[in-house]
Amino acid sequence: MPIIEYIDAIRLAMKEEMERDPEVFVLGEDVGLKGGVFGTTKGLQQQFGESRALDTPLAESAIAGVAIGAAMAGMKPIAEMQYSDFMFPATNQIISEAAKIRYRSNNDWSCPVVIRAPIGGGVFGGLYHSQCPESVFFGTPGLKIVAPATAYDAKGLLKAAIRDPDPVLFFENKKCYRLVSDEVPDEDYIVPIGQSRVMREGSDLTVIGYSLPLHFAMQAAEELAREEGVEAHIIDLRTLQPLDRDGILAAAAKTGKVIIVHEDNKTGGVGAEVAAMIAEELLYELDAPIRRVCGPDVPAMPINPPGEKHFLLNKEKLKAAMLEMARY
């Protein structure tokens, strides 16, 4: 099976869906001739023409709002937000409109839009090219939210998002674009929205997370197995909304010791809901207090290298937390 980069998985998902369905198109700033500031839409305008890889004015609310209108007409738009930090002007369109169109019309209308946005730091992007805005949208009924960690999942989840009848926010991790490569089959497949995946089997502690930090957890787990004989059980949520309740509970019950990991800041993050879910369902099966290892509660990470490093999660931070949990 070919090994491809995370960014190519995203690009190929769009390319193949555009080949499959003429109603699929992509719109956003710089998505056309340039192929996106990161290159996620490279070659799409050359293959599908200007109208299906549409360069838009620099106006995020219109990018989302126009995509929503086209989706209500039955098209399958993929709206690209250049950085997730810049999607806040579109928040009203996403939360007041896309999320509520089916519900408010009693199922008369629907909004099959995909909104893609790169999240995460570690690229010296400073406060406004590094954020993880998941928690702003998380908990909004009517939205689905996915955040893949691997190339395989990025391709399969994006295809599932495009084919989904409801609005899906697709949070791709910009640090993963070229850092992460894995096996991706040539043939068509989807990764169903709403299903977590066990990344690593273990019996000493459970790590639950999504996106980039899972790779640090995996590296830490390998070292802990080698050095300490500690076996971590790791699951990738993959979908943040709806959360895979069964998958989360099974993973927590397996070891009774849970660490939740995400780069988005701790307070009010997805991890809070995961922890609450576990506490509601199986508090008495826990052998240790649930621990969240997340970004600190500051507005966003600084650009200076020590500041950025301090903000971000890494293998060492996770390894220490995991060992402590295993020994609890």
Binding site: S61, A62, G65, A71, M72, P89, Y103, P165
Partner: protein, 336 residues
């Protein structure tokens, strides 16, 4: 067809059409008056009025094609939605918030229109969000090679939202078949137009690279002409048009507002005297197309329609609490 010189014939409207427009304006007016009465009588919780704006709303709708076009009304657009095919009974079901309400099954406040069958696009309360939607529907039409034109209306207050600017600008760049209609009724709740904008809304079109027109809302035939021409340009691939309809809100913002806290009765009366409905009636009467007898007959007929709709809606069921939590997402696999 007679050979007399009449404005509506010059616009391509038949006698029957102009009479139908008049009747529709009266229907919207009477429905609206009943809505206010029902709220004051405590039978419904809320009503929001479009009185004196109906003539231009009806004219807008008559200039469009209900088979192909998309309609994105705002909350005062009773004249528009009735002309497009929504019935008084359906509006009554909405104002009583009953399950059979085609707009939302009684989920949304009245005035939040939406009906896929009638190509009326679902709307919300944060104003102006419908403007980019109209542009998106027009983009879809252009990509598919369909002859649809989107017509979107909004108030003068809305013209200051970013979504107005972003939507107009996008449509201008892509030369999309959209008609942006600002119903400038002089107030955004209590804030007069003079404190909303230092310029003319129609003039903003220049900045977007397409034509903008200011029209007297008390002259529905002129509104019809301007919208019809805008539609012809849109269909011909010549892009969007911005139309600013100058009208006046004679009612309070809604049944929850006391407008005399911020304006005088004299001001309201001055504008009420310019109501287009009696003027159109005089016009039709002068041409021999209308009479007092027909007016009486219309009044009886429309009162019966409204009474019937109200009686039906009052008796109709609310959506069950169990069903009121449905349709957050598609229920069927792969459904839309």
């Amino acid at each position: 067809m007679s050979n007399r010189d009449s404005r509506h014939e010059a616009l391509g409207l038949t006698d029957a059409q102009v009479v139908a427009m008049y009747e529709m304006m009266q229907l919207a007016r009477r429905y609206d008056e009943r809505g206010q009465l029902l709220q004051r009588a405590g039978k419904i919780n809320f009503h929001i009025s479009g009185i004196t704006q109906e003539p231009s709303q009806v004219a807008m709708a008559f200039a469009m094609n209900t088979e192909t076009d998309w309609f994105l009304p705002y909350y005062r657009d009773y004249g528009l939605v009735l002309s497009v095919g929504m019935t008084v009974k359906e509006l009554m079901l909405s104002v009583f918030a009953k399950e059979e309400d085609p707009n939302s099954a009684g989920r949304q406040m009245p005035g939040h229109f939406g009906c896929r069958r009638l190509r009326i696009v679902t709307g919300s309360s944060p104003v102006t969000t419908q403007v980019p939607h109209a542009v998106g529907l027009a983009l879809a039409a252009k990509m598919r090679g369909e002859p649809s034109v989107s017509i979107v209306s909004f108030g003068d207050g809305s013209s200051n939202q970013g979504d107005f600017h972003e939507g107009c600008n996008f449509a201008g760049v892509q030369k999309l078949p959209v008609i942006f209609v600002c119903q400038n009724n002089g107030y955004a709740i209590s804030v007069p137009f003079s404190k909303q904008s230092a310029g003319r809304i129609a003039d903003r079109a220049i900045g977007y690279g397409f034509p903008g027109f200011r029209v007297d809302g008390n002259d529905p035939l002129e509104v019809y002409r301007v919208v019809k021409e805008a539609r012809e340009r849109a269909v011909a691939g010549e892009g969007p048009t911005l139309i600013e309809i100058m009208t006046y809100r004679v009612t309070a913002h809604s049944t929850s507002d006391n407008d005399l806290a911020y304006r005088t009765k004299d001001e309201v009366d001055h504008h009420r005297a310019k109501d287009a409905i009696p003027m159109l009636r005089d016009y039709l009467t002068g041409l021999g197309l209308w009479s007092d007898d027909r007016e009486d007959e219309l009044k009886q007929r429309q009162r019966a329609i409204i009474d019937e709709g109200q009686a039906y809606a009052e008796k109709a069921s609310f959506q069950s609490p169990e069903d009121s939590v449905r349709y957050v997402y598609a229920e069927e696999e792969g459904g839309r």
